[in-house]
């Protein structure tokens, strides 16, 4: 198999923002244990800005590294800016992923989407 980049290995070995948030404003849980990856992303939002993000992931090295990178990318971003973070953005921030691992970066994008959707719905109610 193609090797992981140093950045992937760094985020895999020392993942940032692992865990859960007390009273999160949005939760996104995506993936499926059948496919071998599940990601849960929790966000804290203040004045429309994501002030904290935490994740828990069941998955391979790439899944854990993309989860970690995604949390780093969203913290400090406004909700609108955060919606622009695609799987490609996450993968590029990690100096790329092996081709067969690109689906792992979808997980991060989908989790972010789901967390923002959850946040917006909670705002309405």
């Amino acid at each position: 198999m193609e090797q992981y980049s140093e950045k992937v290995m760094d985020h895999f070995t020392n993942p940032r923002n692992v865990g859960t948030i007390e009273n999160p404003d949005g939760i996104g849980r995506v993936g499926n244990p059948i496919c071998g990856d599940v990601m849960e992303l929790q966000i804290k939002v203040k004045d429309n800005v994501i002030v904290d993000a935490k994740f828990r992931t069941f998955g391979c090295g790439a899944a854990i590294a993309t989860s970690s990178m995604a949390t780093e990318l969203v913290i400090g971003k406004s909700i609108d800016e955060a919606t622009k973070i695609t799987n490609k953005v996450v993968a590029e921030a990690l100096d790329g992923l092996p081709p067969i691992k690109m689906h792992c970066s979808n997980l991060a994008e989908e989790a972010l989407e789901a967390a923002i959707k959850d946040y917006r719905e909670k705002q309405k109610s």
Binding site: T57, A62, A63, I100
Partner: protein, 386 residues
């Protein structure tokens, strides 16, 4: 940091004696074995010596051995070769759900080309269900191919009993002995098989060389056409250094086999006991006793195999996993699903396979490191609540 290699089922280091035996056949003894001049006699004799050594080791005669490029070719040759030779007699093949891909995908290929294949289920320990075998036999069944022992979970199959049924129905029987030859006794008459696949690098021989045993009288069509090598059963100039190396590895293996079987089985059971005792929600995959002495396969709930392997690698420990994340498909190991594991547990499996150089100290070190890795990954997992 000393590396700890626990992936001998994937490949083994080539023995230095094997390498030394091979070296002259790259340089001074380069003659093409098919040529008539005297420098070719040396290479021709070297091949025939290796053939004799292997034949004797498995209870065959030399005319029944064909050298190949490895286990996958041997499996392809046996299955496609018999299927083609007997295509007028019938087009039904019986195999199991837990075969190596070299057998499984060859059968799938034949299915696309007018053959029917029955895939026998296994029990929760990974042993083929014998009552299902009798039921699967049809009038047009021409071949049964069931492995001697499984490469992932080490379950040893009741090959003799299968052979008995095959004989009763006059069906050719092939077994993939890639994981067993050189590790546990393999004798073609005791096993009563018609075809048997062997791979050199699984028992400290070189890569790129293997053999297929073909019992005299077995009808088979060649896979590779061309020259008259291997009694016209496999064209291509012989891989002389590889064949010599294979022969040398066969000479070394039996001398240490019975001691190694005992030693490795003991190491295996001690390690399994330690891991299952110290790591909660872990389970052994495969049969507790009817398993290869060198095979350990354990699933850890709530985490994924590749992330375990990457963590082990940071400590210089090499192992393998049945998780899909190490392959291009998303499906985890077909073997682990066949023994009834759910997808999550199949993704969380790790195989440690021992070799003759594996020590108790090495395994103790792994048993010391592993609980921390599992704990760390579980703390990160949304599927595991501690």
């Amino acid at each position: 940091m000393k590396n700890i290699y626990l992936d001998h089922a994937a490949t083994c280091p080539t023995d230095p004696e094997v390498v030394n035996a091979m070296l002259p056949y790259f340089t001074e003894n380069y003659g093409n074995p098919s040529s008539i001049y005297s420098i070719s006699r040396t290479t021709r004799n070297a091949i025939e010596d290796a053939r004799e050594i292997l034949a004797k080791a498995i209870g065959a005669s030399s005319g029944e051995i064909v050298f190949t490029s490895g286990g996958s070719e041997s499996d392809n040759f046996a299955i496609k070769g018999v299927a083609h030779a007997l295509r007028e007699k019938g087009r039904h093949i019986i195999t199991s759900q837990i075969e190596h891909h070299a057998v499984l995908y060859t059968c799938k290929f034949l299915e696309k080309n007018g053959y029917d294949v029955s895939y026998l289920p296994v029990d929760s320990a990974g042993i083929v269900k014998m009552d299902e075998l009798e039921k699967a036999i049809r009038r047009d069944t021409i071949l049964i191919t069931i492995m001697h022992a499984n490469n992932e979970i080490g379950s040893i199959q009741p090959v003799r009993e299968i052979a008995e049924i095959a004989k009763k129905h006059k069906i050719a029987f092939h077994t993939d002995a890639v994981q067993t030859f050189g590790h546990i006794p393999v004798n073609v008459n005791e096993l009563n098989v018609d075809l048997l696949s062997i791979s050199g690098h699984k028992f400290h021989g070189p890569k790129g060389v293997g053999a297929l045993y073909i019992r005299k009288g077995t009808k088979i069509t060649p896979l590779i056409h061309g020259g008259d090598q291997e009694r016209r059963r496999r064209a291509s100039t012989e891989n002389v250094p590889g064949i010599v190396g294979l022969g040398q590895a066969v000479e070394i293996a039996p001398g240490i086999m019975s001691d190694e079987m005992k030693r490795q089985a003991q190491l295996r059971d001690t390690f399994i006991g330690k891991i299952l005792n110290t790591i909660p929600d872990s389970r052994l995959n495969g049969h507790a006793t009817q398993r290869l002495p060198n095979n350990i396969n354990i699933s850890f709930k709530g985490i994924e195999g590749e992330s375990i392997l990457l963590n082990l690698d940071m400590f210089g420990i090499a192992a393998s996993t049945g998780s899909a994340c190490s392959s291009s498909s998303l499906e985890p190991s077909h073997v682990l699903l066949a023994i009834g594991l759910d997808h999550e547990l199949a993704h969380g499996s790790v195989r440690f396979s021992l070799g003759k150089h594996t020590t108790l100290e090495e395994l103790d070190r792994v048993a010391e490191i592993l609980p921390g890795i599992i704990k760390k990954l579980r703390a990160m997992s949304p599927l595991y609540n501690q």
